[in-house]
Amino acid sequence: MDEHNTPDIHTRITERLRQIQYPGSQRDIVTLGLVGKVQVQTDSAVVQIRASSIKEDVLRHLRGRITQELTTLPEIVHVHIHAFAAQAGEPHQGGQAGNQAVRERADIPGVRRILAVASGKGGVGKSTVAVNLTLALGSLGHKVGLLDADIYGPSVPLMMGTEATPRAGQDKKIYPVEKYGVSLISMGFFLDDQSPVIWRGPIVMSIVRQFLRDVIWSELDYLVVDLPPGTGDIALTLAQEVPLHGGVIVTTPQDVALLDVQRGISMFKQVNVPLLGVIENMSFYECPVCHEKEEIFGHGGAQKTGLKVLGQVPLVEEVRVGADAGKPVVVSAPDHPVAQEFFGIARQVVAAEEMQLPQSVH
């Protein structure tokens, strides 16, 4: 055993390590139990950091701090840190003690951000908004995908004007349909006509899990998910199963102050998904001849709730016609004011979403 390997140096090492606070906390890394075995070999300290839910960037920061602190000790020239960040992985794969003790929920491979579009109740134009928002995000230069998870009424393929079914490749992998530059998957593709409309939660859960595993999305900046309307079990299950980064709620102005929207808000809260804001749909009627705006439901309902309003989409014929014809207004008439409103919403969503990105630690 080395002459430096004395309780004295160990005590002083621990003292130094106690100077290192965990980012976002007043507590130090020894108190938190992060520090495992510490050994000293001649002029080197070997520090083991226990497996934990620590994130890669936090670990990187702590490595630097540990080296900095320990090399202030005259006996220590080199610092070796044995550590592992939390592993991303499929849940329930049977982990093992050691470096994989804590795992992050797996994101969808290749997908940077996943946004959910929800509504307190049906028929408010949620799918219309999801489709046009996706296309608008695409027009802004982002690579986009659309997951139609509304098992009650998968209407997205119709609105997107495609009857193509996704290609099943080798290994049972599923390749999305491409339309208007959007990678598209609808649960409707997998519903045979015999399936009961109301699925039981566990069945939905297992189908969604399979979706998340088997669909090969190309590299996407944004995947937009059209959730089922309402805040019932199925919507909640989906919000839990899909690793969402943000949510928006579509509502009509007359509903915005109602309980439905509050339920939508608490649904996202329950699963800890940041609510980016609400989109008022069918906000006002715009006369197709003189373009005068007539507010059919009164003004500014959403503002009253104190929520961020990402945009107000008027009730215009072009929106409905575009959807019915499989040519959403954002692609069929991008210069139309209502398409411009969707571009504005897309920009707002990107901005709101970027504010939510975790700040990296330096």
């Binding site: 965990y22 976002g24 906390s25 007043q26 507590r27 108190t31 938190l32 139990g33 992060l34 226990r50 497996a51 934990s52 839910s53 620590i54 939390a86 992985g89 849940p91 329930h92 049977g94 982990g95 093992q96 003690a97 994989q100 003790a101 804590v102 795992r103 992050e104 929920r105 839990q240 199963e241 690793p243 969402l244 809260k269 329950q270 699963v271 800890n272 998904v273």
Partner: protein
Amino acid sequence: MPTPLLLTPIPEDQLLRVLWDDDTLNDYPFAYLRGWCPCAVCQGHGGERHFIEVENPQLVSIDMVGNYAVNPTWDDGHETGIYTYVYLRSLGESQDSQHSQDDPEGTH
């Protein structure tokens, strides 16, 4: 919602240490955590929650579930417990008050 900043299993002390975003620190002895498993297998359906005696349970791994819960896997293969952050936090608090085998949510 309380949210954990860091979860660290400490096998030497047979506990899971959790740092919350309000800087609260909670230790959950493995047997305590396993005993209050909220899953239907352990708790049945309905009725009040009760403590499941398991001898020397070892935590094998923990998965983060969404942004709202954790899901431990135990060495006997049990892995159906989804502990929401709210529930986990209440377990930490009721343990602090030394009634570790009382119902953490006090629903007696």
